[in-house]
């Protein structure tokens, strides 16, 4: 094929691997980065940007926790506190977590993992990054020039008629960011459908490509709905079109329906790629073919599909029809099943593996524990009778931090440590990584477990003060203490990872003995990824050719099986002869 045409002509066949510049060295000017079409560079740009947003969101989290140490008269005025938690929610959801795994690792690794030279539409990809940046800047401007006081859910009529400040600008920011994620998803879908290397069949895709595919479907089906819904709120604020306005006989609950029709699937946008990453890490670090490949792959699609049918579980007591509440509760219980499938398949993968407890693996194991707890507490909320009490309390706050921070952020950190050598060509100190992963785990539980109890006790969320209910204070103090640990634990990787850029040992092409195609190219990869379009001949997750122990076992198993068969044949022959 024409692939060879793109190889630098002056390089000799054998030396290609050594001499071709990596994507990092292919142009050093600022322009070569800002106008790049290279999916890897765009991935890095995303990584830097989301890190900044994560920092901003965390700062807000710090303020929240500091405020809640005292029941009253604390750091912030009520109004400021409200702005802070809104900023925290908006930044963390729209500008950090929804983008984190798909846009960073999706961009960087997806084409490598399926054996493509780039995403299908590199320029669209760059546009998508800038849309995201624009959205982020708009939202940040909104936060800095007055802030928004609506909560990240933008419930009407508060957000449309009663709340002042920069709601319009913030919404437009989220809207623009929404188009960025649509563009990314369209790109991924076209890429996964049309650009797989020969032999990379659907059944051989890495599991996290499957989950990225499922995520992309959710994005293109859900995001436009929230986009138009938020746009209608803007219309109400700016042009006074009263579409959800109760004053005109409109229904504010309709806004919630439309909002959650996207925003519940959105929580799966945040967790599906995380689950995919975990599948890959678990398989790699146990050097073990993943248990139940089809089930894991299929459960991603099932989660994506069923995820669209449970939005009403955020509205059990919103005055939606109680019959609909019952149906939504039922489906919410069902959507837990595909998650259960994943959890158990991962656990089974560990069985008879060759487990290496390196940093990504520690994060992955932490993910399993925290996501299980977070997911199961989701069932308290999916259960109608208990949700009536628990809704909008700190129990919900704890639930979603368990799945989002304990789940997705842990997976994000795992993914970062997993692909860091590939992205930068450098190793980081593994011991630091491991210890830090444990620190995150401990700090996290300390922060958010007390919040389950707070919620059960009835502490409502989004409260700036609670001087009328001082019994909540001890648990809040505990939670803040945990957050301090967490703050440190989130800061440490930043330092050792940055340091590794300069001082880290050079990474080999495949430091983890992983099977994905991205590990067959140099670390860091050359601009056009592959010299020859790779041809895939193995199933995904076959470690025999990479890990001697696995090969030994495969061979002894095979020998034994052969022996058994031979023995059987012999016995058969003997018995026929006896007749």
């Amino acid at each position: 094929m024409s692939a060879t045409a793109y190889r630098p002509t002056d390089v000799k066949e054998e030396e290609v691997h050594v001499k071709e510049p990596s994507y990092l060295e292919d142009g050093h000017s600022v322009k070569s980065w800002l106008l790049t079409g290279d999916h890897k560079r765009i991935g890095i740009m995303y990584l830097i940007t989301i890190s900044i947003f994560f920092f901003v969101g965390s700062l807000a989290a710090g303020l929240i926790r500091a405020q809640l140490v005292l029941p009253a008269n604390s750091l912030l005025e009520a109004e400021t506190y409200n702005k802070v938690f809104t900023a925290h929610g908006v930044v963390m959801i729209f500008f950090f977590l929804l983008v984190a795994i798909p846009a960073v690792f999706g961009n960087f690794v997806l084409p490598l993992a399926i054996g493509a030279r780039d995403l299908a539409f590199p320029r669209l990809n760059l546009l998508s990054y800038y849309l995201y940046l624009l959205g982020g800047l708009l939202a940040t401007t909104a936060l800095l020039t007055g802030g928004i006081e609506t909560g990240w859910t933008f419930y009407v009529p508060l957000s449309s008629m009663y709340s002042n400040g920069q709601v319009t600008m913030a919404i437009v920011g989220a809207f623009v960011a929404g188009f960025s994620s649509i563009a990314t998803a369209v790109n991924f879908i076209a890429t996964i459908h049309k650009m797989r290397a020969p032999g990379m069949t659907w059944g051989r895709l890495p599991l996290w490509v499957w989950s990225t595919y499922a995520t992309s479907l959710v994005i293109i089906l859900g995001t436009p709905v929230v986009a138009i819904t938020l746009l209608l709120v803007v219309f109400e604020r700016v042009f006074r079109l009263g579409i959800f306005s109760p004053e005109l006989g409109g229904d504010p609950v309709l806004f919630q329906h439309l909002f959650w029709f996207y925003s519940h699937p959105a929580v799966y946008i945040m967790v599906l790629p995380a689950m995919g990453v975990i599948s890959d890490i678990i398989a790699t670090f146990s050097s073990r073919r993943i248990f139940g490949y089809e089930f894991i792959a299929f459960s991603s699609l099932l989660i994506a599909a069923l995820g669209f049918l449970v939005w009403g579980h955020h509205m059990f007591i919103s005055s939606q029809s109680m019959y609909q509440s019952v149906v939504f509760s039922l489906i919410s219980f069902l959507v837990a099943v595909p998650s259960a499938i994943k959890i158990f398949n991962w656990t089974a993968t560990l069985y008879k593996g060759h487990i290496r407890l390196q940093t990504p693996m520690v994060y992955a194991l932490g993910f399993i524990g925290l996501f299980t707890l977070g997911g199961l507490t989701g069932l308290f909320l999916a259960c109608l009778g208990t949700d009536v009490h628990l809704t909008n309390t700190y129990f919900v706050v704890a639930h979603f931090h368990y799945v989002m921070v304990g789940g997705s952020v842990m997976a994000f950190l795992g993914a970062l440590h997993y692909w860091w050598p590939k992205m930068t060509g450098r190793m980081y100190p593994d011991n630091w990584g491991k210890v830090n992963a444990l620190l995150v785990f401990v700090g996290f539980n300390l922060t958010f477990f007390p919040q389950f109890i707070l919620g059960f006790l009835g502490m409502p969320r989004r409260y700036a003060y609670y001087y009328f209910a001082p019994q909540y204070q001890p648990l809040h103090i505990l939670s803040t203490a945990g957050a301090s640990v967490l703050a440190i634990a989130f800061a440490i990787p930043f330092f050792y990872l940055t340091r590794s850029l300069k001082y880290g040992a050079k990474a080999s092409d495949n430091p983890w003995h992983a099977t994905g195609l991205e590990w067959t190219v140099a670390s860091p990869p050359p601009t056009h990824n592959f010299h020859e379009t790779p041809v895939v001949t193995r199933e995904q997750y076959e470690f025999g050719h990479l890990v001697p122990e696995v090969r030994a076992i495969e061979e002894s198993d095979k020998a034994r099986r052969d022996a058994e068969i031979a023995a059987e044949h012999a016995a058969e022959a003997a018995s026929t002869e006896a007749k």
């Binding site: 008269n73 009520a78 005055s319 109680m322 060759h354 199961l376 009778g385």
Partner: protein, 374 residues
């Protein structure tokens, strides 16, 4: 700090059932989390790379296993679903003989009205052991009427009535929260639900809502204060709606025309009856004129109550001495406001994040407090 509670009291007919389901779910959660945790940890230990465990014939799939862990969670889930749905349907089906109370939510107060016309603000009195049905509506944004000890809440929506019901099962005073974010003072939109023995309740209702008789002037003043909803606007701290009344008595107040007035009895009286005669610096003519609405007696009571609202710097303020709602009007004065510098700092901070309602000049409002506080 005393003991840290880990479970709320059970004070309604739903509480027991709720807790039963809650604890069952907790047990399930514990079982599954521990199961997964133990499996993961033991596998990691046993199959750590280099350990000499038996690794022959590693399985790659098993229909039976998959089936098991699909069916068991589905089954358990369905059981919990039915339990929860049953309780929920009960919660949504008020009995025909329920006593009806109307509730209005608005930024940021609760207003309730009993069938004989008795009105309350931020409180709700209900009889023990009788089903009570609340019919609720909001005047502005969405709120939720939440009583944790009753394990029940429901949204209060503008434009239509919503309902919830319960049977209180224990005498006492229970926290009432607004539990849908509704704007700046969401956290302070609350009060108490009082569960009274039925006889006491009847009497209370007949006496037009008076809880205890006889009352001191201050106490009646507090009642009037609450009934008229002064605390709807006047909070613990000055906010965009109204200046704080904490420590107002004998303090200097700055007016829109920059004149200064000392808040003596006459000033207070005028401020209640004809608030527009002299408007506080930074505020607008927002406060209703109470002339014609309150009696002279009540004005007196109000003034004596306002005198008890802690002086500046008095951290605990009056609430200690009176059996009263610590939540409104009389809550601790911010220590920061005792000095000009600190108060100035507050307003500076607000300046940094302006986001006021366009109809109020709140930056000025906060700044105005600085000179007036000393």
């Amino acid at each position: 700090m005393g003991t840290v509670p880990i479970a709320p009291e059970q004070a309604s007919n739903f509480a027991y059932w709720h807790d039963l389901i809650f604890y069952t779910l907790s047990a399930l959660t514990a079982v599954f989390t521990i199961l997964v945790g133990v499996l993961v940890i033991s596998f990691v230990i046993k199959y750590k790379k280099g350990s000499n465990a038996d690794r022959s014939n590693p399985p790659h799939e098993s229909k039976i296993m998959e089936f098991t862990w699909i069916v068991i969670p589905t089954g358990l889930g369905l059981v919990m679903f039915f339990a929860g749905a049953k309780l929920f349907l009960d919660m949504r089906t008020p009995p025909a003989n329920a006593m009806e109370v109307y509730v209005i939510g608005k930024q940021w107060m609760w207003h309730s009205q009993h069938s004989n016309g008795v009105r309350e603000n931020n409180t709700l009195h209900v009889p023990l052991g009788k089903p009570v049905k609340l019919t609720m509506i909001s005047q502005d944004v969405i709120h939720a009427f939440y009583i944790p000890e009753f394990r029940t809440q429901y949204h209060v929506v503008p434009g239509r009535y919503t309902q919830q019901w319960f049977v209180p099962t224990r005498v006492g005073r229970y926290q009432l929260f607004c539990n849908v974010y509704c704007g700046t003072q969401h956290s302070e939109m609350g009060g108490y639900v009082y569960v009274m023995p039925p006889d006491d309740f009847e009497k209370w209702l007949e006496n037009g809502g008076d809880t205890v008789k006889p009352m001191s002037l201050e106490q009646s003043g507090q009642k009037v204060y609450n009934r008229l909803g002064c605390n709807n606007c006047h909070g613990a701290k000055s906010n965009m709606r109204a200046p704080s009344l904490a420590g107002i008595y004998q303090s200097k107040r700055r007016m829109t025309d920059n004149s200064v007035a000392v808040a003596d009895e006459a000033y207070l009286r005028e401020s209640i009856l004809r608030p527009y005669n002299r408007v506080n610096y930074g505020y607008e003519k927002q406060m209703p004129e109470y002339a014609g609405t309150v009696t002279e007696e009540e004005v007196l009571q109000l003034i004596s109550y306002m005198k008890t609202l802690g002086g500046a710097g008095d951290v605990e303020g009056a609430p200690k001495t009176l059996e009263m709602d610590p939540r409104k009007g009389s809550s601790p004065v911010p220590p920061t406001s005792s000095t000009v510098g600190a108060a100035g700092a507050i307003s500076a901070q607000s300046n940094a994040t302006p986001g006021q309602r366009p109809d109020q000049n709140s930056v000025g409002a906060l700044a105005a407090q600085a000179p007036s506080k000393n």
